[in-house]
């Protein structure tokens, strides 16, 4: 099983390569793109944008809110102690604990969503090239069905430094 990728020195060249691969019939999900910075202004860098992150954060916040509510109101009744003539379950003050746990829930939910959907921690795929840290953009296909077409598409974006690797 061989993989193939090319390193492109500018985002425009990378965009050409991606378009070439699409024209060669490679399905979207098999095209791998890696870069050392987000390239959101370019079309190739704006895929996979849809995320449930805001909803997850809200859900996490709701769980935190419920946790805060139950923590305070249940434990305050487990041994009801009078302090300062205040009621046993003091809702004004419990709001503070509930607020903090709500925000903590939202934060944790965001982080968990990030880790899960970005597949972190994960192992580096076979064709990760450290040249990405030099500003190159990697465009490749993990297991291409039609080797020549893929090779042709990647070579077609000429100009700049390119690297073609055949790996098993």
């Amino acid at each position: 099983m061989t993989s193939m990728y090319g390193l492109f020195s500018t985002p425009e060249l990378a965009q050409q390569a991606v378009d070439g691969l699409r024209a060669a019939g490679v399905p979207e999900g098999e095209i791998t793109i890696q870069s050392s910075e987000p390239m959101e202004e370019y079309e190739f860098g704006s895929r996979d944008r849809e995320t449930l992150m805001p909803w997850n954060a809200v859900l996490g916040g709701a769980i935190g809110m419920a946790a805060g509510y139950f923590l305070t109101s249940v434990t305050q009744k487990s041994w009801p102690m009078v302090t300062g003539g205040m009621p046993i379950v003091t809702n004004w003050t419990n709001l503070i604990i509930i607020f903090e746990l709500t925000m903590l829930g939202a934060v944790f939910a965001s982080v968990i969503t990030l880790l899960y959907s970005a597949r972190l921690p994960g192992r580096l795929p076979k064709f990760y090239d450290a040249e990405i840290s030099n500003g190159k953009i990697l465009v490749g296909v993990a297991s291409p069905r039609e080797m020549e077409k893929v090779e042709h598409a990647l070579r077609a974006s000429s100009g700049g430094v390119r690297k073609l690797e055949l790996l098993s």
Binding site: M81, V82, T83, G84, G85, M86, T90
Partner: protein, 235 residues
């Protein structure tokens, strides 16, 4: 019916002799902190005689006021303790549970009467003074807050005796150390929930006021004085 312990302090009778202070120290195992520490402001007098000077020589007047924990019904020291070390008992006392105290000293800041004290050091008594410690009262370690308890050990002992003899408590049977030692009979202790007790009647006296009443703490110590604070001290 639960008790509601309270006290009345007759300012017209107080002579400022401080017998109550000494009695409280010896009854409750309160350390004498020593000269250096007292100069640093660390003396621990659960009951103290506040002494105010007024006027210029030779028309100087001295006023005395014993101040102790007011056992407030709505104690500001209670909600602020993170570990419930300061909480309210069923008898209406503000209990300081030494074992729960972690020494944040927030209760002392919240107390408007400054009647809470902190063990800055673990107290020690040189021999043979350790023999005079009251076995009914614990010795607190460093880092723990303490204050007047209305001699809860005597309250409990009284309740136990009455329970054994299967009779109700008599008014005046339980006397905290300060009440017992007052030479002028200025201090009266009793059950505010019993309308016939001396302290109940004194708390309703027209001579009675509460200390720092405007703070809304509902203290259970009534201060009695003939007229205004100024009049009462005129001899």
């Amino acid at each position: 019916m639960p008790h509601k312990w309270g006290m009345a302090v007759d300012l017209d009778r107080c002579t400022g002799c401080e017998a109550c202070v000494v009695a409280c120290h010896s009854e409750n195992n309160i350390p004498t902190v020593g000269e250096t520490e007292a100069a640093r402001g660390r003396a621990m007098h659960w009951i103290r005689i506040e002494r105010y000077w007024e006027g210029e020589f030779p028309e100087v007047q001295v006023k005395f006021r014993p101040v102790l924990c007011q056992q407030c019904d709505e104690a500001p020291c209670e909600p602020v303790c993170p570990t419930y070390a300061s909480s309210h008992s069923e008898d209406g006392l503000n209990s300081q549970i030494y074992n729960r105290c972690i020494g944040t000293r927030y209760c002392a800041n919240a107390c408007g009467y400054n009647v809470r004290f902190f063990n800055f050091f673990t107290p020690s008594w040189d021999k043979p003074l350790h023999l005079q410690l009251n076995p009914d009262v614990s010795v607190r370690e460093g880092g723990v807050m303490e204050k007047c308890t209305f001699c809860i050990q005597r309250i409990n002992a009284g309740k136990v005796s009455a329970g054994i003899e299967q009779r109700p408590l008599l008014d005046g049977e339980i006397q905290p150390a300060c009440v017992q030692s007052c030479t002028a009979n200025a201090l009266v202790f009793g059950d505010l929930a019993d309308p016939d007790s001396t302290v109940s009647k004194l708390s309703k006296s027209p001579r009675g006021t509460k200390l720092l009443e405007e703070l809304g703490t509902k203290p259970k110590v009534t201060y009695l004085q003939r007229g205004s604070w100024d009049d009462s001290q005129k001899r």
